[in-house]
């Protein structure tokens, strides 16, 4: 198949952008959830 490398590269770009974006959002979410839990604990302990 002619130009298969280009087609494959484009296909990988689509997956890579969505996957990396989802990973960054998930990491930010889990970090924020940890921080919220820590603050809640701090407030409970007074």
């Amino acid at each position: 198949m002619k130009n298969f490398e280009s087609l494959f590269a484009a296909w990988m770009v689509v997956w890579a952008v969505f996957f990396l974006y989802e990973v960054t959002v998930a990491r930010r979410l889990s970090k924020l959830q940890e921080d919220i839990e820590r603050l809640k604990q701090q407030l409970r302990e007074g």
Binding site: V17, F18, L29
Partner: protein, 241 residues
């Protein structure tokens, strides 16, 4: 949570099937052959970028009308996902263009207006980083978001209004346009797959923004309490003396 898992599963399954359909089910295009198959991800990503920016536009108007923070969260979620989709468009486009046009990029109306669109929403996201006060941040970005959306119709109509290197539209492009029925079906599957992914990412990003707001509130409470206790301590020490 169950809805999110179902959406993620549906999006991943549709994207895998769309990849298979684009490679093996869609008919071969007579002049460009294999490289034309980029069309099945380039076009849906572009449409989804428009949809995401339209979400930003609606959210920005709603924020200015109601001043409810949830609209600002939706705006920033839509903008980030729209930038991700248009990044895909701006990378897959040149990969497609190079073997077909002989150049990676040309400054024609369609390509330039798409690049400007990407720059505008990147600026929208950067602008938010410069402002501390949440109300000011939301108001400025709502006004800027509405202004940025003006470029979306310009991108859409650019290859109808001007002579461009970018091909003329094959969908809703008039009497000389059209798409093979099977190509249309594969395009539809890809579009639904990318749309599901986009919806899932917007929902996740919205949740992140909502949690950030909750975090800021909790931090403010914790700091206020610490300040109160700090003020009480010297008074108590003075009473002891």
């Amino acid at each position: 949570m169950k809805g999110r898992i179902a959406l993620a599963f549906a999006a991943a399954a549709l994207m895998v099937f769309a990849g298979y359909a684009a490679l093996y089910i869609a008919p071969d295009e007579k002049t460009m052959h294999a490289i034309q198959r980029i069309f099945y991800f380039h076009v849906p990503s572009a449409i989804c970028a428009f949809v995401a920016f339209f979400v930003v536009f609606i959210a920005n108007f709603a924020y200015l009308g109601t001043r409810q923070q949830k609209w600002d969260w939706l705006g920033v979620a839509g903008a980030e996902v729209g930038v991700a989709c248009s990044t895909i468009v701006l990378i897959t486009g040149p990969i497609w263009a190079h073997p077909v046009w002989g150049v990676w990029w040309t400054w024609d109306a369609r390509l330039t207006s798409t690049f400007v669109l990407w720059l505008l929403y990147t600026a929208y996201l950067l602008l938010r980083g410069f402002l501390e006060d949440p109300q000011r941040k939301a108001t400025f970005s709502a006004v800027f978001g509405i202004f940025a959306f003006l470029d979306v119709p310009l991108v859409y109509f650019s290859n109808r209004l001007w002579r461009t290197q970018h091909p003329q539209p094959v969908i809703l492009g008039g009497s000389n346009s059209g798409l093979d029925p099977m190509m249309g079906k594969v395009l539809l599957i890809s579009f639904v797959g990318v749309l599901c992914l986009m919806a899932m990412l917007i929902a996740d990003r919205y949740r992140l923004e909502r949690l950030r707001w909750e975090y800021e509130e909790l931090r403010f409470r914790a700091e206020s309490r610490a300040a109160e206790e700090g003020a009480k301590a010297p008074r108590a020490a003075a009473e002891m003396r």
